[in-house]
Every structure is written in structure tokens, then in C-alpha cells.
């Protein structure tokens, strides 16, 4: 079962049966989903370090009251940059990297459906990253204008008053939008058109399902953001009045456009990670995923409701009470599909003889922490409460509890889970455990205390704070340092696994309990896989003759 399916039958009719090109062309001209996936992942790791450095700067400044390191404008610039780098540079590309690597392997496809467009989707990202960094540093050059102090939401009228750095940021958003829309089109087409003929949509692996839903979301929301920032650009330079009350426009319009994108974007970040967990938890529970179909239903429900509740980010702008009630109820409804997913995970682990390799440790802690983040989300969704919480550190704590376990840590877990498949080597389990525990302690230490800070009234996005908040901020900053440094372990771990020194070789089925087509090919996965489509049974496994 493992070796016969690996034989790549040669066929003289097509010309893709040679190895990779030599030198830089292999990467720059690449049409190979594995190479492009690797580039995505490396890119996101670089951006993670950049975004992590800015997070360290923020926590260093907030360690003590008063101004120590950063001027207020620079602080706000760093806060803006941190969010954009993490969301668009680290999390989304990492999820796209997993999609590129795993989707063709999981559905028995020889490659992505539109390989050249796939290359373009990736290579737009470094260009966007350069523009994003420029938007950060341009104000330091003569004539560069003021720094971006709006936060990642780019609300007018403040964003209309920022100097030329804002234009770089607007065009960065355009580039990122094109990249993500092209990647999403590719993923949807690959899933619909490139599956092994015997694999039905119901049998499709859950990770593929989550990316299908994610890709739909991206196609629907990113053009709206692109349109919104285009209007911002017009208001800045061409004399229009979209967001200017004097000309009959309304700054609040931008908030609606932004959050029509921004709220589903949260699910864009979360869903691929839910997909990763849906593979890891069954693999180390040695059981199939509980409630597979309800999982698929839940994610479709989640995405659908998620599209129409955006204004819960804007309770304080003066909407009609009918609108506010609608957005509140809609938002709270979202906890139903999310709860369903979490209960499915728990039920999968129920009475299982689990083993606790690092991906599983991450998965279990993610389920717990994400539920916590979800509960503070319900608190924030309730209008009268939100009027108190909004723009405090409570919000910061909430969304970091959602996005850090829900997106970032799940992606780490996914990387550890599939690293043997990519590199052919098992990672160092002891080191991975160290990474898990340090990051777990560091993360919770950083953000748990921020709940108290927020409830006590410490505002976010402010460089200074009253002295009564000193202790918790100090704890948060020390823990943040631990959390930040823990990623050096991860970096070392990945490099060590790639180089293969002091590691053991991975089998093609690297984890005993792992199911799915990706474990049928050799480790490391050959340059071309599934030149002939496999025949799968109802469980999505290779059909036995």
C-alpha cells in the first residue's frame, strides 16, 4: 500500500516528468505546488519575525509607564505595522503555504489547477511586503510626510491626513488583494476540478474543505476592501468626498466597508487552522473525526453568518438601535457553529487512547484557549457591555486569544505535523515540547493579564498609561519576552529538521494514526506526485485491491 502507489509512471506524452530546474530559476519561475508552498511558508516565517520584533517593541515600551523608547507617532506606526504584517504577511501566507503543499497531495492531484497563476500569487507577496515596509520607513526620509498612526483599520479622517506613507499602504493592500484573490481562485478550481475522480466532496479531507470555504470568503471580501481603499486614495488625492462630511460623505462608510472585509477576514485566518486541527486531533486520538458532516456544515454556517455581522466592530458610531440589535444577535449566533466544531474536537478525543506529540499538545491547548477567546468574544458582542470594553486592552486580549491559538499556534502545529512529509525527517520531539511549553506560558502570561487591564480601563493604541496599570503591564511584557524568544526554538527546530542532522528519518506515514492521501507518498514528498490519480474509498483512503 505504501510503496506501490509511489511509483511515478512515466508517460512520454507530457513533459512534466523531470526534476526541478537548477539555481534561482527553480524558485522564480516555479510552477510546482510544493516549491511555491515552501516559498509561502518561508516568506511567512520571515514576516513573523518582523511582526514579532514590532510586538517586542510595543511590549518594551509598555513595560513601564511613561515614554521610554518610542515617540507616540512611532508607537502608533509600529502598532499599525505589527497588525498588517501579522495578518497579511504571516498568517495568511502560512495558511496559503499549507494549502499549496497539502491540497494537491490530499486530493490526489498532480499540481494546482493553474500553476503559472499560482507562481504569480506568491511572488506578489514579496512586492507587497516591500511596499509595506516602505510605508513604515518613508516618513523618516526628508519630505516623507507624517507616520501612519491609524492602526490597521485605516479609518478616515485620520488616514486622509497621513503623509505619503499611507499611499504605499493603500497600494500594498491592492497587491495583497490581487495575490489572495488569484490564490483563492486557484484553490477553488483545484478542489472542484482536480480531485481524484473517486473522491467525492463529502469524502474530501476537512483541511481541504476549510480552504474551500476560506477561498470563497476571500473572493467575496477582498474586492470590497480594495474598493474601499481606492476610495480612500481618491479622497486623498483626487478631490472626492466619499468620507468627508463637508461634501456629503461619511467617514463611517469606510468603517462599514472595512469591516465587511475585516470580520470575515477573521474566519479567513481561523478556518484553515480549524482544518489543521481536524487532521491532528484524529491522528493522535487514533479515531476518525467525530461528526465529520456537521463539521462541514458548521464551517459553511460560520462563513455565511460571518459575512453579515461586520458592524459589531462599530457599536459606538451611532447606528440605529434596530441595526445594533441585529448585529448583536447575529454575532452571538456565530458561537453555535464554533461551539459545534469545538465539541466535535472534544468528542473525537473522548475515551481515545491519545498520544501527546507536540502537534497534539498544541491542538489540545488551542481548543481550550480558543474557547476562552470565544467567550470574551460573546462578552464583546453584547452592546451595553461593549460600550465599556471597546478600545480597551480587553479587546486586545480578546482577539489575541482568538487569533494566536486559533490561527498562529494551529499553523505551528500544522507545520510540525507535516514537516516530516516535507523534509523526510522527524523533528526533535524534545525541542518541540520545550517550544510548546515556553510559548504556552509566554502567550498566556502576555495576554491573560491584559483582560484585567482592559476591564480596569486601560485604553489600547496609547503609548503611555496611568501608574495603577504598572504591575500587570510589567507581567505582560516579561511574558511577551518569553513568548517572543520561544520562537527561536521553533526556528532552530525547523532548520534542524530540514538539514536532517540529529534527527530520525520519517516514514511515508510519519504518524501511526495519520490518515489521508498525503501519507501515501514518500517522505520527503517527491517533486511530482499523483501523476496518476489514486482510487479512494468512502473514508478517503486508497482503495485496497
Amino acid at each position: 500500500m505504501t510503496t506501490t502507489t509511489m511509483d511515478i509512471a512515466h508517460d512520454n506524452d507530457h513533459h512534466d516528468d523531470h526534476g526541478p530546474q537548477k539555481g534561482w530559476r527553480r524558485w522564480v519561475y516555479s510552477n510546482n505546488h510544493k516549491d511555491i508552498g515552501s516559498m509561502y511558508l518561508i516568506f511567512s516565517l520571515v514576516m513573523l519575525i518582523l511582526g514579532g520584533a514590532s510586538a517586542m517593541a510595543i511590549r518594551a515600551e509598555l513595560m513601564y509607564p511613561g515614554l521610554q523608547l518610542l515617540e507616540p507617532d512611532l508607537y502608533n506606526n509600529i502598532v499599525t505595522n505589527h497588525a498588517l504584517v501579522m495578518v497579511f504577511g504571516a498568517v495568511m501566507p502560512a495558511a496559503a503555504g499549507l494549502a499549496n503543499w497539502m491540497i494537491p497531495l490530499m486530493i490526489g492531484a498532480p499540481d494546482m489547477a493553474l500553476p503559472r497563476m499560482n507562481n504569480l500569487s506568491f511572488w506578489l507577496l514579496p512586492a507587497a511586503a516591500i511596499m509595506l515596509v516602505l510605508s513604515f520607513i518613508v516618513p523618516f526620509f526628508p519630505g516623507g510626510g507624517s507616520q501612519i498612526n491609524t492602526g490597521w483599520t485605516l479609518y478616515p479622517p485620520l488616514s486622509l491626513q497621513v503623509g505619503m506613507a499611507m499611499d504605499f499602504l493603500i497600494f500594498t493592500v491592492h497587491l495583497l488583494g490581487v495575490s489572495s484573490v488569484l490564490a483563492s481562485i486557484n484553490i477553488i478550481v483545484t478542489i472542484f476540478n482536480m480531485r481524484a475522480p473517486s473522491m467525492t466532496l463529502w469524502n474530501m479531507p476537512i483541511f481541504v474543505w476549510t480552504w474551500l470555504v476560506t477561498a470563497f470568503l476571500l473572493i467575496l471580501i477582498l474586492p470590497v476592501l480594495a474598493g474601499g481603499v481606492t476610495m480612500l486614495l481618491f479622497d486623498r488625492h483626487l478631490g472626492t468626498s466619499f468620507f468627508d462630511a463637508a461634501g456629503g460623505g461619511d467617514p463611517v462608510l469606510f468603517q462599514h466597508l472595512f469591516w465587511f472585509f475585516g470580520h470575515p477576514e477573521v474566519y479567513v485566518l481561523l478556518l484553515p487552522s480549524i482544518g489543521v486541527l481536524s487532521h491532528i486531533i484524529p491522528a493522535f486520538s487514533y479515531k476518525p473525526l467525530f461528526g465529520r458532516k456537521s463539521m462541514i456544515g458548521a464551517m459553511i454556517l460560520l462563513a455565511s453568518i460571518g459575512m453579515v455581522v461586520w458592524a459589531h466592530h462599530q457599536y459606538t458610531i451611532g447606528m440605529s438601535s434596530a441595526a445594533v440589535s441585529y448585529f448583536m444577535i447575529g454575532t452571538i449566533l456565530i458561537s453555535i457553529p464554533v461551539g459545534l466544531m469545538k465539541f466535535n474536537f472534544i468528542a473525537t478525543m473522548w475515551r481515545a487512547s491519545m498520544t501527546f506529540e507536540a502537534p497534539m499538545l498544541f491542538a489540545i491547548s488551542i481548543v481550550a484557549m480558543f474557547v476562552f477567546g470565544g467567550l470574551t468574544g460573546v462578552m464583546l458582542a453584547i452592546v451595553p457591555a461593549d460600550l465599556q470594553y471597546q478600545d480597551t486592552m480587553f479587546v486586545v486580549a480578546h482577539f489575541h486569544y482568538v487569533l494566536m491559538p486559533g490561527a498562529v499556534m494551529a499553523l505551528f502545529a500544522g507545520v510540525l505535523y507535516w514537516l516530516p512529509k516535507w523534509t523526510g525527517n522527524m523533528y526533535n520531539e524534545k525541542l518541540a515540547n520545550w517550544f510548546f511549553w515556553t510559548s504556552l506560558i509566554g502567550f498566556n502570561g502576555t495576554f491573560f493579564v491584559q483582560h484585567f487591564l482592559g476591564l480596569a480601563g486601560m485604553p489600547r493604541r496609547i503609548v503611555d498609561y496611568p501608574v495603577q496599570f504598572t504591575e500587570f503591564n510589567f507581567i505582560s511584557s516579561v511574558a511577551a519576552l518569553i513568548y517572543g524568544l520561544s520562537h527561536i526554538l521553533f526556528l532552530y527546530l525547523v532548520i534542524q529538521t530540514i538539514r536532517g542532522k540529529g534527527t530520525t528519518k520519517a516514514k511515508s506515514r510519519s504518524w501511526k494514526g495519520a490518515k489521508g492521501l498525503e501519507w501515501e507518498v514518500a517522505s520527503p514528498a517527491p517533486f511530482h506526485t499523483w501523476d496518476s490519480a489514486p482510487t479512494v474509498d468512502a473514508e478517503g483512503e486508497i482503495k485496497q485491491k
Binding site: 506578489l124 484573490v181 456629503g248 466597508l257
Partner: protein, 290 residues
């Protein structure tokens, strides 16, 4: 193991990276040029040249592969679905502007007028002015851009509607001619469609000149001018793009590139053209008429 999978995976290609470089140069150029930094203009020129070179080269490769019989049924489905979802994303791009139009007409106007219990909104946003014109069309409480006249629906917009709808019909005639393998009719109907499209663009340009010179309806004419030009402008841009695509397809039709059973490129451009048509109908109703 089932049958061999012959899905066409192209050779590594330089076109995607050139596409990236062209977009990068264009957007960097734009960011600089908007702020009057001279290098921006050079970057814009460079980006445009690269863009044309990239489209020419990339599509030449694809056409060569298509004529070389590399694309089978499965590849065809990939292209179709890809085009479909691309148009879907375009649809949402326009939806953003239509949604904004609705918001600015029906919601922000009332807010600015200080209607109902939201009176405070106006006091915060625009405290200087006591009475605010909310009736559409308006250019805001400050009469931004000076008095202007709104664009009527009859006249050029109506003619343009008829032109675009007719072009949809002629394009369908061309499709039928293609299926009937009647090259002469096919090419004729294609050029008729292009002529209608270009006439539309000409009228639209004339309308803009008229609006600027006679109606004082400019991009700076408050929120009416803003929404009018961003909607019609992006639509006009799409018509120009569609026309260029139609010209390429017409030239390929004359070279007999398409077969009755296999002509994805033709259909993709036709879908795009019909999409532009539908957007125009939305424009005609919500921008010009209502």
C-alpha cells in the same frame, strides 16, 4: 491505481514574475506620482511597458499551447471555473461602489441632516452648518465644488444603454456564427461588437467633457460627483479592457483559431463582456435614472 493523469502542467515560465514586476512598478510609481515625486512617472511608464509585454508574451504562450493541443477537457474546465470566479470577484468590486452609493444616498444624508435621535452625529461631524441639504443629488452641506447639475438619464446614457445591449446581441450572433463555422459572419459580428463598444466609450468621454464644461459636475462635486465618476469611471475602464480583449479575439477568429466544440477564449471574453453589460444596467438604473 486508475488511469494516467494527463493534466497539462506548463514548463516553468518567466511571465508570472514579469507580471509581478509590472504591477510592482505601477503601484510604486503610483504612490510616488500621487505625491509629486518625479521617479513615480518613470516607474509608471516602465510598469506599463512591462504590463503590455507580459500580456503579449503570456497570452502568446497560452495561444500556442492551445493550438498545440495541450489543453484537454479537464484543462478547459479549470479555465472556465477560473474565469467564472474572477468575474465573481469583479462583481464584488463593483458591489463595493454600489453599496457605497446606497449608503451615501440613503443613510449618510439623513445622518448629516441630523434627523431623528441621531442629531448628535451631525453636531460632531459638521457643527458649522445649521441646515443641510439631504435631497439627492447633493454635494454636501458645504456645497463642495460649487453648484452643479446632475446627469440626466435620457439622452446619452439611454443611447449608451441601447449601444451596450445591442453589442451583447451582436456578440451572441458572433457566437452562433462560430458554432456554425461561418468565419466570415463571425468576424463581421465581432467587429460590429467592437464598434459598438468603442462608440460607447466615445459617448462616455463626450459625456464627461459635457459634465465638466457645462454642468460643473466634476470629480470634486461633493458626494454626487464622487460616486458618479468612480462608478462610471471604473465601468468605462472595464469596457476599454473588454474592447481590447474583443479585438484580440476578433483577430484570432479571422485566423480560424476556434472550433465549434473548443473556443474557451471566445466564451471567456463573451462572459466578461456580458458582465460589463450587466454592471452598466445597474449604473443606468441607480446612477442615472433613480
Amino acid at each position: 491505481m486508475s488511469a494516467q493523469n494527463n493534466y497539462f502542467i506548463p514548463e516553468p515560465s518567466k511571465w508570472p514574475i514579469i507580471a509581478m514586476l509590472s504591477m510592482f512598478a505601477l503601484l510604486m510609481g503610483g504612490a510616488f506620482a500621487f505625491n509629486d515625486v518625479v521617479i513615480g512617472n518613470y516607474l509608471l511608464v516602465l510598469g506599463s511597458i512591462l504590463l503590455v509585454y507580459m500580456f503579449y508574451g503570456w497570452f502568446s504562450d497560452v495561444i500556442k499551447e492551445s493550438l498545440g493541443g495541450k489543453y484537454g477537457k479537464q484543462e478547459d474546465i479549470s479555465f472556465r471555473q477560473g474565469m467564472m470566479w474572477f468575474i465573481a470577484s469583479e462583481f464584488f468590486f463593483f458591489l463595493c461602489f454600489f453599496g457605497s452609493l446606497y449608503y451615501l444616498r440613503d443613510i449618510s444624508g439623513a445622518w448629516l441632516a441630523g434627523e431623528g435621535y441621531l442629531a448628535i452625529t451631525k453636531d460632531v461631524l459638521y457643527p458649522e452648518v445649521s441646515s443641510v441639504a439631504v435631497a439627492w443629488p447633493n454635494n454636501g452641506p458645504a456645497n463642495v465644488g460649487g453648484d452643479f447639475q446632475a446627469m440626466g438619464a435620457t439622452g446619452i446614457p439611454l443611447i449608451n444603454t441601447i449601444l451596450l445591449l445591442t453589442s451583447g446581441v451582436t456578440l451572441t450572433f458572433a457566437h452562433h456564427a462560430l458554432k456554425a463555422e461561418h468565419t466570415k459572419h463571425l468576424v463581421l459580428w465581432m467587429w460590429a461588437t467592437i464598434a459598438l463598444g468603442l462608440t460607447f466609450v466615445g459617448f462616455q468621454a463626450y459625456e464627461y467633457i459635457h459634465a465638466y464644461n457645462d454642468l460643473n459636475l466634476t470629480l470634486g462635486a461633493g458626494v454626487y460627483g464622487s460616486t458618479f465618476y468612480i462608478l462610471t469611471g471604473f465601468h468605462g475602464f472595464h469596457v476599454v479592457m473588454g474592447s481590447i480583449m474583443l479585438v484580440v479575439i476578433a483577430l484570432r477568429c479571422a485566423k480560424n483559431h476556434f472550433k465549434p466544440e473548443k473556443h474557451f477564449a471566445f466564451e471567456a471574453v463573451a462572459w466578461y463582456w456580458h458582465f460589463v453589460d450587466v454592471v452598466w444596467l445597474g449604473l443606468f438604473i441607480f446612477v442615472y435614472w433613480m
